[in-house]
Symmetry: C2
DNA sequence: TATAAAAGTTAGACAAGCAAAACAAAAGTA
DNA sequence: TACTTTTGTTTTGCTTGTCTAACTTTTATA
């Protein structure tokens, strides 16, 4: 049985893997992801190594073992299913779900997770557009870019957000965006990479930082 | 913000209060309720006293303060709402709900509890027949006896169980009992207080221990 | 009422989880 | 190559929650 804390370390490692594509993670990187000191992380990584959940050697990089990855996926699955539950069944707003799901993801009961999954009709995506790993631990991948990578003149569809913080999400809503929104990149300011985008016929100017936190796909299918 | 452990101590104190009617609790009694050593409980009670959640002095008895009781009721409310949710919405069985609710009761989100309450239609009783405190912290009381207090020849209605353990609950089901079951006490063995009871026309012999864990009411209303 | 049993307390220990400060290694750069 | 910055490690120490073992107070009873 893993502790609350151990589960969070594994989840953070998996998230770095998924978001950056790199399997190897440094102590400092992980520490900053978890808002902890590198010293703290170094201690815990040694414990996780003892439990065969990560591969690691002195001054080396951290990778998840097969078992560690499996555990991490379970936590991520629970997190995203709970978010979906809160959003779909309890009318929580987009920006409220994350905080509560952070707690709910540590509840130990395979039956509970599977029943919630069933109640929700086995959803593939959570309210932020992120993929929910299925009961077998499989994670679908999607060819997605961030909004700032789209060339001016092209259109795309928003599929997910990178940042889950309340201020960001509330801003997203204010700009008229949500999962599946169609976005046209009108122009890009060369100086600071500010973007002018068009959403539902309305133009907005957003920063590069904002655009880097919006995931989009470019093949817009006729619906 | 109270820790997981502190909440469990408060809940245990409240449960002793509700089940025995006595407001004063001893260190050993609490320790046995929590399956901990008296020394451990003694330490923690001092911490809870510092936080003004319990009244206590050396060699004296423990009582909940107004604030302590309020917190304890919140935990109990969450526990019983989650049990009801698992039973009603996720098809958990009677004996499965307790364990998972022990974890869920510590989730910190007032909104979550209230929404679950709403989703369930503001239930008054949990699957074990226990009263669910309402959002204001009020606990309805019911004039109930244990089955072993019923005189032979009389009938009664089962309203709750005292023991939440899986073996007990599975045994209850096996005897054909559930919340609202009508029970006739046919006879009582003077030697060991074994009871012969009749449920749905079938006679069963049950021990005094069993009967002490079944709560009943005697005024059977026409339904 | 003396004494044994029950109930409660204290002291000392340990493990988990965290962090500050000092140190060591690796990488980048002039 | 030498110096500096970044990255990683170790040491030491705090806090929380638990335990065992030894001790003290209260209570029940012979």
């Amino acid at each position: 049985m893993l502790s609350f804390t151990e589960e969070n370390y594994l989840k953070a490692l998996l998230k770095i893997n998924l978001e950056s594509g790199q399997a190897e993670v440094g102590t400092n990187e992980l520490a900053s992801m978890l808002s902890l000191r590198p010293a703290t992380v170094n201690d815990m990584i040694k414990k996780l190594r003892e439990k065969k959940l990560v591969n690691y050697e002195r001054y080396g990089k951290i990778t998840l073992t097969r078992d560690g990855k499996k555990r991490a996926i379970e936590v991520l699955r629970k997190h995203r299913l709970w978010e979906t539950f809160l959003y779909e069944k309890l009318s929580f707003t987009w920006d409220e779900v994350h905080e509560v799901a952070e707690q709910l993801e540590h509840i130990q009961s395979a039956k509970l997770v599977d029943r919630i999954d069933e109640l929700l009709g086995f959803p593939e995506f959570d309210p932020h557009g992120d993929v929910i790993p299925n009961a077998k631990g499989e994670i679908k991948t999607r060819i997605q870019k961030t909004l700032d990578e789209i060339e001016p003149g092209k259109s795309c569809k928003m599929v997910a957000v990178k940042d889950n913080s309340t201020p960001f999400l509330q801003y997203v809503v204010k700009v008229g965006l949500g999962i599946s929104s169609k976005i046209k990149v009108v122009s890009k300011q060369a100086y600071d990479a500010n973007l002018v985008i068009e959403v539902k016929g309305v133009k907005h100017t957003v920063s590069q930082k904002f655009a880097q936190n919006i995931f989009v796909v470019t093949e817009i299918k006729a619906s």
